[in-house]
Structure formats: structure tokens, C-alpha cells
């Protein structure tokens, strides 16, 4: 066990620090952060500019082949970059889904020509991706999805509806899972496709979230045509491709609001007072901070353990589910506790009045979504119980009958 850098790692870290210092602002020194996840033209331009800067310096695809602009470096270098970037206020959110979830599946399943076309432009931030998975009838029960893909010569005709699609309105490409055969059991009739989001036959409607923001959408397909060359994996093997994407979602955290984090809470507790002293000196407050600190530290270190395994050529295991499970709930609890410390004044949702640019108020309304997106708490617990602890699967009454004979309603 050695948490110190090797000489190569230390050299790389130094290089990364130099790059970040020259090109980004440290957290806490930058302007107001965008906690709502809402991305307007200015935010989009800033995000694309940052991704382009990163890619030009070779930090966008650290483990990827050089022909795509990567470095072919070990996974541990990716960790080092992430550790350093985390200290800076940089707009990465809009690329999380594409780079973290969609591209690993593309790289794994697409032929080299298609990868060559799609990967470098995504790394440079020129093209944005979304994940077209969830449907009104298929959220936690993803394999219950109904969007149809029917073959017509060299093309597929898509009809149906997706929902909760983060960033669909900003996206150039989407990763779609659709039903190609309703006469077989539900997991066996699925196929994955790459969708050009600018084509006719796609309608995108924003969803107004409980937080007031709109970063995700409903996406409707009406006779959308996709060339067969844009199919990922074999026909009917879409469930397996989807699992690759979902596992990477849990590894990267997907589109999860992780603020307020432990350092936000510490900042708040230095500002506020309890009785006649700073909140951070109050015994009860200290207990809460300490408890959350060891959790957030534990998750961070668990991710490094996972990446150690990754760098030795092992697959990321289902134990990665714990990071998202813990962090989403913790952010919600910290937001709630922060408001509590503000007493009646905590009601003010006004950047002039609320501390830390009203982070805690925003997060109070945004964090319920984090416990649902990317696998609900309950689904993640099922995954841990079944895949890690090897406990029996839930009883699934629809598992072995043809999809078109499953009762609906």
C-alpha cells in the first residue's frame, strides 16, 4: 500500500497542476457556481471552451488511444487528473454523460471507423452526447421500455418516447436503447443505436423540474430513420450494451449534483453562529460534520481503491454503486442541515440574503433528483445485495414471458 505518487505519477501531477493553475480558477475564488444544472448559451460556450482547452493539452482522454487525442496512460493518471481538477471550479457537467457513459460503450462496441468519427470530436467538446434510456414505462424497470425499432432494409425506423433525458436539447448525439423484438422476453428484445439528434423525426420538450430548473427533457421519435451502421452490438443484445453504460454511469456518477459537500458545510459553519460562537465550534454541529467527513472521505478512497483494481486490468465491480448511493443522500442531508442552522432566515432564496450564493437552498430543491437519476437508492441497494452479497434476485413475474404478453397499466 502506498498513497504516495511514483516518480512518474509525481511528474504527471506536477504537469497537471501547472496546466490547471494556468487555465482555471481555484474553487472558492471563482464567481457564483451554477448549482441548478441549468445550462444557457453562456454556460455552454464556457463548457465547450474548457473541454477544448483540456483536449488540446491532452487531458480529455488520458487513458485513450493517441490517435483520438489520448495519452494511452494508465487509469491511475486519470485519477490524478481528477484529484487535481476537483480543486478547481471548471464547467464539466455537460460532458459527463457523453464522456463518462456513452463513449465507453461506443468504444467497446462500435467498429473502428465509427469510433474514429465520434470519439475525438466528443473529447474536444465539439459534440455533446445524451443517453436515451428511461421511458415513462421503463425507469427503474428499464427493460420494460416500449420505444420500437423496426428494420427496413439498411435502416431502422424508430417510434416512441424517452424521458428524463439530461441535456437532450444540447446534444449532437444520443445513445438509444429500443425494442427490436416484442415477441421475446423483455431483456432479449432490445438493441442499442447511436442517434444523430439533429435529424427530423425527433422532438425535444423540456421538463420543468421541482427545483425550477429544466435540464432534462422528453424526447419523442416519429418515424426516425437510423442507418444500420449506427447499431451498437448485435440485434437483441442491447441489454448487455446498456449494462456497460450503466456500470460506467455508476463509476463516474453521471449527472449527479454532489453539492453541498463537506467543505461547503465547513464554509457555512464558519460563517454562521450558534449561541455566541461560530457554528463550527458547537459540539452538536461538530458531530454531524465529523460523521459526514468520514463518509465522504471513505467514498473518495473507495473510488481510488477501485481504480487501483482498474489499473491492474480488473473490471470495475458493482461495489462502485456505493459512491452514488452515499453521495446523493449525503448532499441532501447536508443541504437540509445547512438550512436548519440558518433558522428562519434559511427560507430566503435570494442570492443577496442567503449565504454562499444560496447553495443550500438550491440544493434542498435539487438533491431529491440525485437520489433518483442514474439508479434510485433502492435499485442501487438491490444491485449491491444481488451482485456483491450474492443474495437472491427479486421475484420477477414478467421475466420469462414474451414482452407483448406482459400485463400493462
Amino acid at each position: 500500500m502506498d498513497f504516495n505518487d511514483t516518480p512518474e505519477e509525481a511528474a504527471f501531477r506536477l504537469e497537471v497542476r501547472g496546466f490547471l493553475k494556468a487555465n482555471a480558477a481555484l474553487k472558492g475564488t471563482a464567481g457564483p457556481a451554477n448549482f441548478r444544472g441549468e445550462i444557457g448559451a453562456a454556460e455552454l460556450a464556457a463548457a465547450k471552451a474548457w473541454q477544448a482547452t483540456k483536449a488540446a493539452a491532452g487531458y480529455a482522454g488520458i487513458t485513450l488511444p493517441k490517435r483520438w487525442g489520448g495519452r494511452e496512460a494508465p487509469a491511475i493518471m486519470q485519477v490524478i487528473y481528477a484529484q487535481e481538477e476537483e480543486k478547481y471550479s471548471v464547467p464539466t457537467g455537460v460532458f459527463d454523460i457523453g464522456l463518462g457513459m456513452c463513449l465507453p460503450s461506443v468504444i467497446h462496441y462500435a467498429d473502428p471507423e465509427l469510433s474514429d468519427r465520434l470519439v475525438p470530436s466528443a473529447l474536444r467538446g465539439e459534440e455533446i452526447w445524451c443517453q436515451l434510456f428511461s421511458e415513462p414505462a421503463g425507469g427503474s424497470d428499464l427493460a420494460a421500455l416500449r420505444t420500437r425499432a423496426e428494420r427496413a432494409g439498411d435502416e431502422w425506423i424508430i417510434n416512441g418516447q424517452k424521458i428524463w433525458t439530461s441535456g437532450a436539447h444540447l446534444s449532437d448525439w444520443g445513445l438509444l436503447v429500443a425494442r427490436t423484438d416484442p415477441t421475446v422476453s423483455k431483456h432479449a428484445g432490445l438493441t442499442v443505436f447511436i442517434v444523430d439528434m439533429k435529424l427530423p423525426g425527433i422532438e425535444i420538450r423540456p421538463i420543468h423540474q421541482m427545483s425550477g430548473a429544466s435540464h432534462f427533457n422528453e424526447v419523442f421519435f416519429t418515424n426516425l430513420k437510423i442507418p444500420d451502421a449506427y447499431r451498437l452490438g448485435e440485434v437483441g443484445k442491447g441489454w448487455r450494451v446498456s449494462l456497460t453504460t450503466l456500470m460506467n454511469e455508476r463509476l463516474t456518477g453521471g449527472f449527479i449534483i454532489r453539492r453541498p459537500d463537506i467543505s461547503d458545510l465547513v464554509d457555512l459553519c464558519r460563517l454562521l453562529t450558534v449561541g455566541d460562537r461560530p457554528a463550527i465550534k458547537a459540539d452538536g454541529v461538530r458531530q454531524r460534520i465529523a460523521a459526514w467527513y468520514v463518509r465522504s472521505q471513505g467514498i473518495k478512497l473507495t473510488q481510488f481503491r477501485t481504480l487501483t483494481a482498474l489499473s491492474r486490468g480488473k473490471e470495475p465491480g458493482p461495489e462502485n454503486s456505493i459512491g452514488k448511493l452515499v453521495n446523493a443522500s449525503m448532499a441532501q442531508e447536508i443541504a437540509d442541515y445547512g438550512l436548519d442552522l440558518m433558522d428562519a432566515g434559511g427560507l430566503a432564496m435570494d442570492p443577496e440574503l442567503a449565504p454562499l450564493n444560496m447553495l443550500f437552498q438550491e440544493a434542498f430543491l435539487a438533491t431529491p433528483g440525485s437520489r433518483i437519476a442514474g439508479g434510485t437508492d433502492e435499485i442501487l441497494r438491490n444491485i449491491i445485495a444481488e451482485r456483491v452479497l450474492e443474495m437472491p434476485a427479486d421475484i420477477r413475474v414478467d421475466k420469462n414471458i414474451p414482452f407483448n404478453q406482459i400485463p400493462t397499466g
Binding site: R286, G298, V326, E378
Partner: protein, 377 residues
């Protein structure tokens, strides 16, 4: 960077698991719990032959000099079986205190006998109910004579000597007291712990020898306690692993409402939560293990995080193990209660969760410079 134990450590872990699985069944623990034996003496002798006590002790003092990673691995295995031996008293505490505060003469006189297991040492710090700290210690040393009382002292009745924490002219001093003979009034205290005796010492003009380093020993003792906290965290993690396995295996084997108990989400989600606690605690402990072997400035913070996290994980795992078993989990015959008892024993031993959370906060509040933020985890 590497966040996993070395191959050698993993081999040692497998050896220790096989050996202890064979030699330290719950029956051995119950011999101590039910008052038939003060500790598992034959197990202790075999552990000494295998060189476990000597593992992290420098070769100069009769140790193997394998480093602390080896000791962490052994601690985890001892924790899995609730080993009723004075390993933590003698090795994490007494040996470390003498190494840190003793004169060279004292180290050469005492440590080799701890390394080969021929002598047992302990540290007497607590003075009854409530937090013991530099301000509260009432045991006094004057001209190498002690007056005061200490309780509970783990393994006090089987120890050959104790390192007693007392107030003196230099602040706080660590005093060597030989226990064999009748110079110390020592008595056994009943406890809920399953695998270690606790005792009370009363000092009435008791002769003692100050450990050699001049000056206040309190900071040295704090460092010893931090190190012991990391090793204890590994014992706690061993216990969490076993609780989780016990609960899972029982639930898989038990049929209720016509299907395995383990197929109900109420049970699956409960045990998934225990797994989460385990992994959080394990990661914090690994970081502690690294800090221990590196002498890094982060050691106090890493130690407090490892301790807070392991204590919480064991608390949850041991109580939910009983709950998963239902009624049988509440019987004397099932082993669930041994772990429940031991979880709280380890939680209190070096000071409770509230104490350690405050200690963690003290360390967290201090480093806020940009440089620390740049370097820190």
C-alpha cells in the same frame, strides 16, 4: 499510487485466517466470556511462536521489523475471531508507549519480552466514567511514587507490567509499574465485553519508574493512541466482515413465507447498507494504514477518521446481524451477541465516538491553508 495491501501482506492474511479459523472458534471466546479462563493462553503462545507480536517491532528490540502493514493485517484477522488475547494491550499500546517514551535501557529491558510474548504489558489511562484527558487525570506521581486509581484497565489482571498515565512535575508522565507481587491493589471488574478481562488498579504509595524521555509525555501518548486507533479500526473491520457474512448466510439459509429470507428487500437493503458502512470504514482504515507506515503529518487525522468510521460500521453491522437473525439472534447460544458486545467494547476502549469526532474536528479545522488543500485528500 497503490491502494491495496502488498502480496506479502495478503499471504500473511491468508495464513492468519486459516490458523485462527482452526484455533480460535467461538468456543474459545466463550471460555473467557463465561469466566473459565482469563485469556486464551495456548493461543497466545502459538501466536508468539508465529512471530505475530514481533511483527512491527524493530529488529533491534527482538522484533521482525515487518512494518505496520503486517500488523494491520493481523489485527483484522484477530478482530474477525474476537481473539481473547492481550494483543492490543501488549503490542499496540504498551510496546508502542515504551518505544516512544522509554529510555534505550528501558526499551532493551522490556520490549524483547513483549515481542516474544513471554511478558504481557498494558497501558492504564482511564479513570472511571467520562472522558479522560490531560486536564482530568487525577493519578499523581511524586518522587517515583504513585497515588490514585485506574479503571478499566484491559488485561490488567494478566499483565506483568503496566504503563500508568499520571500527573507529575513535568506535566503528564508515563510510569512503569510491575504488577506481579502484591504492591498494586488490583481487582477484576465485570464487563459486557466477551473476550478481555478488565480490572481496577488502586495505587497507594506504589513504586514506579518514569519512562526515560524528559518532559511532558502527553503528546507522546496521543501519538500512541492514534496509532492504536488505526490498528483497532482493522480489528473492527474484521468484526464487521463477519457480522455481514453471518447475517447474509443466515438469511440465505432461512425460509420464511415460502421463500428465502434473503430474497426480501427489507433484508437485502439492510445488508446493502451494512456493506456500504464496511467499505467506507475499510477505505478510511487503509488510508490510516498508509499513514501509520509513512509517519505522515496526516496521521492524527487519518487515525481519527479510521476510528470514527470503523466504530460506526461495527455498531451498525453488529446490531443488524442480531436483527436479521430474529429471535435466535437474541439467544446466548448464537454468536451474534459476542460481536455486539465486542463492537461496543472496541468503541469505548480508546474513548467513545463523540470523543473521537471532536478529535477529528480539531485536526480538520487546523489545516486550511491553500497548500494543505492542494495536497490533502
Amino acid at each position: 499510487m497503490n491502494f491495496e495491501f502488498s502480496e506479502e501482506s495478503l499471504m500473511l492474511r491468508d495464513q492468519a485466517r486459516n490458523f485462527l479459523g482452526d484455533r480460535c472458534s467461538p468456543k474459545v471466546v466463550r471460555q473467557v466470556l463465561e469466566g473459565n479462563q482469563p485469556y486464551a493462553e495456548s493461543l497466545w503462545r502459538e501466536m508468539a511462536e508465529m512471530g505475530w507480536m514481533a511483527a512491527a517491532i524493530p529488529e533491534e528490540f527482538g522484533g521482525a521489523g515487518l512494518g505496520y502493514e503486517a500488523l494491520c493485517v493481523i489485527a483484522q484477522e484477530l478482530g474477525r475471531v474476537l481473539a481473547p488475547v492481550p494483543f492490543s494491550s501488549s503490542i499496540y499500546l504498551a510496546s508502542e508507549a515504551i518505544l516512544a517514551a522509554g529510555s534505550n535501557e528501558q526499551r532493551h529491558a522490556l520490549i524483547p519480552s513483549l515481542a516474544d510474548g513471554s511478558k504481557i504489558g498494558t497501558v492504564a489511562l482511564a479513570e472511571g466514567i467520562g472522558e479522560t484527558n490531560a486536564d482530568t487525570i487525577a493519578t499523581v506521581a511524586h518522587n517515583s511514587v504513585l497515588n490514585g486509581a485506574k479503571w478499566p484497565v484491559q488485561d490488567g489482571l494478566i499483565a506483568d507490567f503496566a504503563i500508568v498515565v499520571a500527573r507529575d512535575e513535568q506535566g503528564i508522565g508515563l510510569y512503569l509499574v510491575h504488577l506481579k507481587g502484591d504492591k498494586v491493589d488490583s481487582s477484576s471488574i465485570s464487563t459486557f465485553g466477551p473476550s478481555h478481562g478488565q480490572s481496577k488498579f488502586v495505587f497507594n504509595k506504589t513504586e514506579a519508574e518514569r519512562l526515560g524521555r524528559v518532559g511532558d509525555h502527553w503528546p507522546i501518548l496521543q501519538s500512541v493512541i492514534d496509532r492504536a486507533a488505526i490498528l483497532t479500526a482493522f480489528e473492527q473491520i474484521g468484526g464487521v466482515e463477519v457480522c455481514l457474512d453471518m447475517a447474509r448466510d443466515y438469511a440465505k439459509g432461512r425460509t420464511v413465507f415460502g421463500r428465502p429470507l434473503a430474497s426480501f428487500q427489507a433484508i437485502k437493503h439492510k445488508l446493502a447498507d451494512v456493506f456500504v458502512e464496511l467499505e467506507i470504514a475499510r477505505s478510511n482504515a487503509y488510508y490510516g494504514a498508509w499513514a501509520l507506515s509513512q509517519e505522515t503529518s496526516y496521521l492524527p487525522r487519518a487515525a481519527a477518521a479510521a476510528r470514527v468510521s470503523a466504530t460506526e460500521a461495527y455498531r451498525i453491522a453488529s446490531k443488524e446481524n442480531i436483527q436479521t437473525h430474529g429471535g435466535v439472534g437474541f439467544t446466548w447460544e448464537f454468536d451474534c451477541h459476542l460481536y455486539y458486545r465486542h463492537a461496543k467494547t472496541l468503541a469505548l476502549r480508546l474513548g467513545g465516538a463523540r470523543f473521537w469526532m471532536n478529535r477529528l474536528m480539531d485536526h480538520l479545522e487546523a489545516p486550511t491553508s491553500a497548500e494543505e488543500r492542494m495536497n490533502g485528500f
